[in-house]
Symmetry: C2
DNA sequence: TATATATGATACCTATTGGTATTATATGGA
DNA sequence: TCCATATAATACCAATAGGTATCATATATA
């Protein structure tokens, strides 16, 4: 239940980390697999993975000498829930937009 | 349609900026109003507001010598949409959990 | 007009961040 | 066992970020 909002948003703030999540959404991957997808050292990728793990956006499972990284929904849900607090802002905006469209439609029919 | 994912997530990564959004969700505020809510200088708050504006999380309206800051749904929606790409992960996780509960229930009834 | 107020802009400082290079450790296979 | 491979850990560096202090500008108001 420990929803670490800061950890989640901090992890999501870096474009490389968001790309890592995109790759992991296609399939679980080792660090080596991920390094092949980026133009940076293994150590750099590992640091990003650590930040993602701290934000509960990924989970790591040891398998022999490999470590399988996979999406962990917890952190994403934490961020999602935080943003959802503001949902009514764009709901209101969208309904206002719809109202405007409706009004415009009536005006055009004049 | 230019959805600046980086600008939005960068803005959301700082706890002070998230608190500013929380305050603005209650009511629109000037910089002065916001400074009263934090233990930092006006210049620091102004910097945060600039980052929030760049991420399209707030919009600023000049009124006399004051500038009214208000929530701008665009940036929040941009971040939300990005995260929503992963929705099926926690949907799947939740339905797997439900399956486990159902199975456990049947087993307990044995 | 003169003055207080609300804000903007910039220089500067320190801590954090994203990256590399390097060394160490553990595991799979010939 | 010996060696290649997959990863971990650490020191180090440059750039960025969050903060303050300071000065400049614009607008209410006495």
């Amino acid at each position: 239940m420990n929803s670490d909002v800061q950890g989640a948003f901090r992890a999501l703030a870096d474009p490389t980390r968001r790309q890592i999540l995109m790759h992991l959404s296609a399939s679980d991957m080792t660090i080596g697999d991920l390094v092949d997808q980026f133009d940076m050292t293994r150590a750099a990728v590992k640091k990003h993975l650590t930040v993602l793990e701290e934000g509960h956006l990924i989970a790591v499972e040891a398998r022999g000498r490999e470590r399988i990284n996979r999406i962990e929904p917890m952190g994403l849900k934490t961020a999602m829930d935080w943003i959802n607090y503001f949902n009514h802002f764009w709901d209101d905006r969208l309904s206002a937009l719809q109202d405007a469209i409706d009004t415009e439609g009536r005006e055009n029919n004049d």
